[in-house]
Point group: C2
Chain length 288, copies 2
DNA sequence: TCGTTTGGTTTCGCACTGCGGAATTAAATT
DNA sequence: AATTTAATTCCGCAGTGCGAAACCAAACGA
């Protein structure tokens, strides 16, 4: 009864202006520092006057700083504060730290937790020893879903509907490059089914090898995923399979236990709530 | 010509819906993890249906995650991504790192950079050696403006108008506690005038002593500030004055030089632009 | 010097969004 | 069963937010 229209159309509860404003903020990628109204308009595909109003509003609220020298904008401290609040509220991050540390010491690989944002996994926290990888990844770093151990573990931890939805998104996102990626994902699906962890050896960066394990919580919060990686010469595929992988699985199980049990897998619970109408129903409908 | 109304009233360029949506996100403080619509409504003073719509929108966009178990929401990875992008785009943070490291090693104190968000200073980055302070401050941490060396340095680096505005805000924010704070600020103003750095010894936390120095850039980006702090017994007031302070000032001057010169202080330039109407005029008007 | 290009802002009338009071439902509590 | 608490849905209307088009200013270039 609220479903008919073809496009986004009439979703009376969706606040377009807010969505657009956030799109403007998101237009600022981690590199490109300064952006003018023009560039923002190009990226967001919104008409110029709209952008003007939005940047004006965001500036007034302190999320953007004008840089008069270049007549452009920059993300401001307030934007940062949001991110930090998000981070601080992420229980997994804190709780998993000692576990990560331990596995890092035991294996010599860097251990990280992350979750998904759009088409990427994004790091919530990591433990690395001095050596480790050539690639330096910080909190907030993004890594692809399709080619990384963390991403694959995450993907295969999703319910089949969500997974299908995500795969569709990725396909669209990657265009012609998709088939190759999809193959890798499918292979990793078998690995996950058999061993409980995903592997990526040289598929993301030539010289990086890692395993990934997903964590499900019973609070309904989307799955998270851990990885443990090192330079390829240090983690041979053999070692990944027989040593690192199982170790990471054990770690995650421990964390799940500490956090109050893994997610119940049965759809029943959810459906009960879903069937009864109410908020959750709309939520689920809205989300995917 | 756009000024008359008493309240926010008619600012045709200000997008209210966006502002409110961001208020909802901001309602999530770094601690209180989960928030229900109710609590959000209370904090933001917005009517419930409005909150419903906004949380619905934010959820759909991936900035909030519903936690069905508690019928509440949590900040989601997308929110974090924003913050990270902000951080990554902050030139000062990266460029200042080696300088901070050096001063840290030379003095034994922790050295940090930060900027302002609302009523606080917020850390962009810091260098600490193993020991240092009892208080552990991370990127994203907030410290007060009035009682800290960093905050005071920042405050006295503002133009007199902005400073006045900020002081007004703080006064309102702190209510009856204000007079005492104001005294501290004023004393620190003299210190800044005389030595070029601000001091806070035991005024924020009993056992912490620090100096602060502001950094002005010529790109029009609001000032930033550095501090160098340690347990009080390690940084005596004498040492702050004669050693740590001057050293931090020197550091900041070096950074300014590396970044292409300190901000020109004359109001002329700005006024020229201002006079000519156009974007900047509206910006400035809007900001403060 | 005068077009031209580029990037941004203002205007303005209208459509439809977003609003919020009030009614409604769900679940938890008594 | 009655009450409380917390959310959602309804729905008509005010006025927000929209965006095409016009306008402006500065930078370029010839």
């Amino acid at each position: 009864m609220k479903r008919p229209a073809k496009k986004v159309a009439t979703d009376r509860s969706f606040v377009v202006a807010l969505s657009r404003g956030l799109d403007v903020l998101r237009a600022f990628q981690p590199n490109d520092g300064l952006l003018g109204n023009q560039e923002i308009a190009a990226r967001t595909k919104l008409p110029k006057p709209t952008i003007s109003r939005l940047t004006y509003t965001l500036t007034k609220l302190g999320y953007l700083t004008p840089v008069p020298r270049f007549e452009k904008y920059q993300l401001a401290p307030s934007a940062m504060a949001l991110g930090y609040a998000a981070l601080a509220n992420l229980g997994v991050r804190h709780l998993s730290e000692p576990y990560r540390e331990e596995v890092m010491r035991a294996t010599g690989g860097a251990v990280a937790v992350g979750g998904r944002d759009r088409h990427s996994m994004i790091y919530f926290g990591q433990s690395r020893n001095g050596l480790t990888l050539g690639v330096q990844l910080d909190v907030g770093s993004r890594i692809p879903i399709a080619t990384t151990a963390m991403g694959r573990a995450y993907l295969w931890a999703l319910g089949s509907d969500e997974r299908a939805a995500l795969l569709r998104e990725l396909r669209e996102h990657y265009g012609s490059r998709w088939p190759k990626l999809r193959d890798g994902i499918e292979r990793s699906g078998e690995t996950v089914a058999r061993h409980g962890f995903a592997i990526s050896a040289g598929e993301w960066h030539d010289d990086v090898a890692a395993v990934g394990v997903a964590l499900k919580l019973n609070d309904g919060t989307g799955p998270y995923a851990f990885n443990c990686g090192a330079p390829a010469f240090r983690f041979t595929e053999d070692r990944l399979l027989s040593d690192i992988g199982p170790r990471l699985v054990a770690m995650v199980r421990n964390i799940e236990a500490a956090l109050g049990g893994a997610a119940p897998q049965s759809k029943k619970q959810e459906n009960k709530k879903l069937g009864s109408g109410g908020k959750v129903a709309r939520m689920v409908e809205g989300i995917r």
